[in-house]
């Protein structure tokens, strides 16, 4: 629950309804599946939902209520207390016991709570990348296994190992890049809306994905190249 003065900045923009104009009203998180006009009880206080907003979940999906400050103080502290004060401009001096934080410092402080989740995402990311690399390497290797006779014919015709590597690398890199583009399109347009909290795939992530795909493709083609080099061109003379 987040309490704000009714006329202060920081209220979410409701997708439905409006922001509160007086005490006893609230903007609810869409994740709570409430409608405008519903009544809810929070900490024994009756609140009427006047707006529903998306993208205001905290910590990977914890739903929130935005309520007028007085209601929040009554529910949480039973007295007029505040945990933080937002200011326009930088205060020159603050009362004893207060600390001034810049917006970046506030962001970093909030991110500290998300550290565990972020690390989990990083580990998952790494594991998925390893799986993708393994799958692409397997496809390239299996395709090289199937094409032993083709390699033999190409070698007998004068194809060097470098030429074979170029062909295999092109196949693996194209495969990786197509997979990366498909993944990016899915992430951007198909999967993000299904995630129950705000998820943003950054441009740098897409760039990293492209470079990684290129590297994975080249590494995967080495698996196929090993097989291609081992093929004896004399195989081309054997009957099918």
């Amino acid at each position: 629950m987040i309490g704000l003065p009714v006329d202060a900045r920081g209220w979410p923009l409701p997708g439905e309804g409006r922001r509160p104009a007086q005490a006893g009203e609230t903007v609810a998180d869409a994740a709570l599946a409430l409608d405008v006009g519903d009544e809810v009880s929070v900490g024994g206080q009756r609140l009427q939902v006047v707006g529903v907003a998306s993208g205001i979940s905290y910590y990977f999906g914890a739903p929130t209520f935005f309520v007028p400050l007085a209601d929040a103080q009554a529910i949480a502290f039973a007295e007029p207390l505040a945990m933080s004060v937002a200011t326009e401009g930088v205060p020159q001096s603050v009362p004893p016991g207060f600390q001034v934080l810049s917006p970046e410092q506030v962001e970093a402080d909030l991110a500290r709570i998300l550290e565990g989740g972020t690390q989990t995402i990083g580990v998952l990311n790494g594991l998925l990348l390893l799986m993708a690399a393994g799958i692409i390497a397997s496809i390239v290797y299996l395709s090289a296994l199937e094409r032993g006779r083709d390699f033999a014919v190409l070698k007998a015709t004068g194809a060097s190992n470098r030429a074979l590597f170029a062909g295999l690398a092109a196949q693996a890199v194209i495969l990786s890049l197509v997979a990366a583009v498909a993944g990016a399109v899915l992430a951007r347009f198909a999967l993000t809306p299904l995630i129950p909290f705000g998820a943003d795939v950054t441009t740098s992530s897409f760039l990293t994905l492209g470079v990684t795909a290129l590297a994975v493709g080249l590494l995967a083609s080495l698996a196929g190249l090993r097989r291609a080099i081992a093929v004896d061109p004399a195989q081309a003379f054997r009957a099918a």
């Binding site: 006779r149 083709d150 014919v153 190409l154 007998a156 015709t157 004068g158 194809a159 060097s160 030429a163 061109p233 004399a234 081309a236 003379f237 054997r238 009957a239 099918a240």
Partner: protein, 328 residues
């Protein structure tokens, strides 16, 4: 145009751990414009000789020379250059790359030889047009008949204008109408001053050849007519692994060992033949080379028999017994 010269060529390789020598001391000279037919049964060394001429296989001894190039000594970039520019190969069973169209298959050696895309395309269209395949250029091998695939394979072998064209069983897998077309094409290829070497066991190809090289081991009628009676000292050979199979032998006195020469150099005892036992039946019966060496274990006397005499003495049971347990 270059002449092809093969001198004292011997090829050995490992066959299941044992030493096989399909070609032993071969000499051959071929002039430009000649079509040579390598004739022989399966396993007689036809494909092996083609592999040596393509410098895919290295001979144990001997030299292969094409003009000024000593083919049998080529290595590294010179070998790659030889394969890319000098030799064209029509493989058995066509061996076209199934994922490429007919035109792309023909373009492979051209692009490897360094041709640019435009000229490579033009050359491909010209060749496939000459082969009567102008409307099949974009088809993949799986969508072409056997005869069409063989024509694509020949076009691929000729694309980079090699001076030496090697064809391995080019009429296998084809019906008689398709065979006629392929024969005409091969004759036409040699007409351009190239050397064409064709390996086949198809005797329909005989009239096509300027020269025939018989690779199935045979002895002259005079040799065959007189089976020898041999007295051999301990360690002396009656015949050696890889020899032509001429006679069946029967042990009259002493003992004879049949040993196989392993590729790594050692000998492996296969059987010890005592008086009354026949050995060396399979090679003369089936026109094969000896698969083992017969060496006297003690002082021995062995009598050679013609196949006819062996059959007369043993009946059909002798042949069946030879197949069940006989050696070379």
């Amino acid at each position: 145009m270059a002449e092809l010269s093969v001198r004292d060529l011997t090829v050995e390789y490992s066959s299941g751990g044992y030493m096989a020598r399909p070609i032993d001391g071969l000499d051959l000279d071929v002039s430009p414009g000649e079509l040579v037919l390598l004739l022989g049964a399966s396993g007689s060394g036809k494909t092996t000789l083609l592999s040596v001429l393509a410098r895919i296989l290295t001979p144990k001894t001997g030299t292969v020379r094409l003009g000024d190039t000593v083919v049998s000594e080529l290595e590294g970039p010179a070998l790659v250059h030889y394969r890319r520019h000098t030799v064209g190969i029509v493989f058995q069973a066509f061996n076209l790359v199934p994922s490429l169209s007919a035109a792309e298959n023909v373009q492979v050696p051209l692009r490897l030889a360094g041709a640019r895309a435009g000229p490579a395309r033009a050359r491909t269209e010209e060749l496939l047009g000459r082969m009567g395949l102008q409307d099949r250029m974009r088809h993949r091998p799986g969508d072409l008949s056997g005869g069409q695939q063989q024509r694509v394979a020949i076009a691929r072998a000729l694309a980079h204008e090699p001076v030496l064209v090697l064809a391995d069983e080019p009429t296998a897998h084809l019906d008689y109408i398709q065979v006629e077309g392929v024969l005409r094409l091969l004759r036409e290829v040699a007409g351009g001053g190239r050397i064409v070497v064709v390996a086949s066991h198809d005797e329909r190809m005989l009239p096509l050849a300027d020269r025939i090289v018989e690779l199935t081991p045979r002895r002259s009628p005079a040799e065959v007519a007189v089976p020898p009676r041999l007295q051999v000292a301990p360690g002396q050979e009656v015949f050696a692994q890889g020899d032509a199979g001429d006679f069946v032998y029967v042990v009259e006195e002493g003992e004879v060992d049949l040993v196989r020469v392993r590729f790594d150099g050692g000998d492996e005892l296969v059987a010890r033949m005592e008086p009354g036992r026949y050995f060396g039946e399979l090679a003369p019966l089936f026109g094969l080379r000896r698969s083992a060496t017969a060496r006297a274990a003690t002082a021995a006397v062995v009598q050679g028999l013609t196949v006819a005499e062996f059959r007369r003495r043993t009946g059909e049971g002798g042949v069946r017994q030879a197949l069940a347990g006989g050696q070379g």
